[in-house]
Amino acid sequence: MNKRKVTLAAAAAGVLTGAAGISLLAMPAGAGQPPSLPDIAPEKLVEQVLTSKPGAFGGTVEVDNKLGLPAIGEIPQLADGKHSARIWTDGNGKLRLALPNGQSEQTIVDDGSTTWSWNSQNNEVTKSEHKADKEVKPENEQKAIDPATAAKEIVNQTKEFSDISVDGTARVANRAAYELVLTPKASEKTLIREVRIAVDSELKMPLRVAVLTNGTAEPAGTVGFSQINVGPQDSKLFEFTPPANAKVTTPEAKEQKQRHEPELGLEQALNGKDPQIFGTGWDSVVGAKIPAEAMTHVPAEAQGLVDRFTKKVSGSWGSGKLFTTKVATILIADDGRVVAGAVPEQVLFDTIGQVK
């Protein structure tokens, strides 16, 4: 009889353990106790970030995006929500990126001389040899996703327009980090309240970047490592051999094929007609003029897409469409002038007259 009670208790304990386990799994991983680190002057930290060379590492980057961007087929990683990517680098320019998208995956490998981009959805490999003078496209994607490069750029550009401080410490991907905070100076007319960068206390490499906007407590966007291992990586990761039955194309051939796609026309127009920059610092505005023929050649479906995500505005400068996200505003005038910046819409209305 007693034995029966013991077994019953053991079985009940098993049930409770299982239930507790599920609840533990369901809870988001806690940030943990912030580590105690020696004080450091913010300017010194910035300097160290700018001079540090992140060596070889491999890790998982989580992107938490609440910017309010519409989902674009080509880059699903930009849509709102959580996305993760895996990144490996040898510290000397060789790089591997794995971008899972549902049950598919996009892999980008830079072996030092060639950039390979593989997409499991259409079994296609894009191969681009590095050119000496021109930047290859995947490096833009790399900047967007690699916190190291992203933060350095931000620090560089904003030093003279921002207050820089160190606001405590944090634990990111199980590494001790300083929280470096950039706050736009009061004179800056920007949507951004502050940018928080968690800097690894040892490597002085940014581990996490969070952008906070006016009027919200939660960051509008966070890019950061959820897991990182620092040290030499398997050299096989930086090689890529296209699978036996994959289509291998070059970016030039691909561009030709995609010329008819609507979003690309706008993108090309924005990239192509060398953009003009107005103002300095956080409230600088980029302007461009889309050629009239590109404006009239927008297909109906693209027009529908534009109409769905924009609102019609008009003023002394003319009339156009306004596209708003939490961190940036874009104004497209009906005559083809385009201005964009991390600023409230009024700044764009004031600036658009200067676009030539």
């Binding site: 029966r4 077994t7 019953l8 053991a10 079985a11 009940a12 304990a13 098993g14 049930v15 409770l16 353990t17 299982g18 239930a19 386990g21 599920i22 609840s23 799994l25 369901a26 998982t60 895996r86 794995a98 899972p100 549902g102 049950q103 598919s104 995956e105 892999t107 390979w116 593989w118 499991s120 959805q121 259409n122 079994n123 490999v125 897991q227 990761l237 890529f240 051999t241 296209p242 699978p243 036996a244 039955n245 994959a246």
Partner: protein
Amino acid sequence: MITRQFGSEVRWMLRRPRTLIGLFGLILVPIIISFGIWSAGEGDGGPGLGAILNGNGMVVPIFTLFLSLNLLLPLVASIWAADGLAGEAQHGTLRGLLVAPVSRVRLLFVKLFGLTAMSLFAVTLMAVVGIIAGTAFLGTNGMMTLSGTTLSTAEGFLRIAFFILLVTFQMVAIGAVALAVSSTTEHPLVVQAATMTTIIVFQVLGQFPSLDWLHPFLITTGFPGLIDVMRDPIPLGQIWDSTLLAGCYMLIGTGLAAMRLITKDS
């Protein structure tokens, strides 16, 4: 002693005609999939794993198991769990087992062992048929992963073996919960209906973004992450989470079944 009971339980399960019919049905799945992809020919195979199946027969077993895990394999596990206790109760044979001088906990472990052995057998059978059918219909050249790398045949077999274990574990977890239901009723159909309803309801709940707080509690949430086996190198995070979640379900199911069996009047 216990090994003899294990052996007789599995023999007993294999002797049931419906087990054999079920196993035959399971091996048809990879054959139909291979044939379908082969006859569809070149072109986009669809999203996810389907897209890389062409000329890549070694992926067929993984694709088959991944698809079957959503409905077919839970159904099979629930049938075995239903036969194990409710079926025996219906035939009046459970009474004999309960009054026999055998510990009831041991009886439960014999049933769990039978469930595990048969699940492993069924999943392995599907995988082996998948490898053969996939290679025959689609050809093979090592195993191409979702990351675009090509693994050697040996590495491919390792991945398949790893996936067999992962899928079996999920199946046994579902079966353990079904065993708990099975211990409360004399009607095997009730067990199957209850298990399948739960699995389907879980999957429907998983579709609603507004219920995302609930998703980590559902065993079905862990299924899609198992596809990471086909990425290279394998990210273990999601696989580990899914397996832990299934382990918790297994603990709960086994515990509840044990509590019920111990307190059951013979």
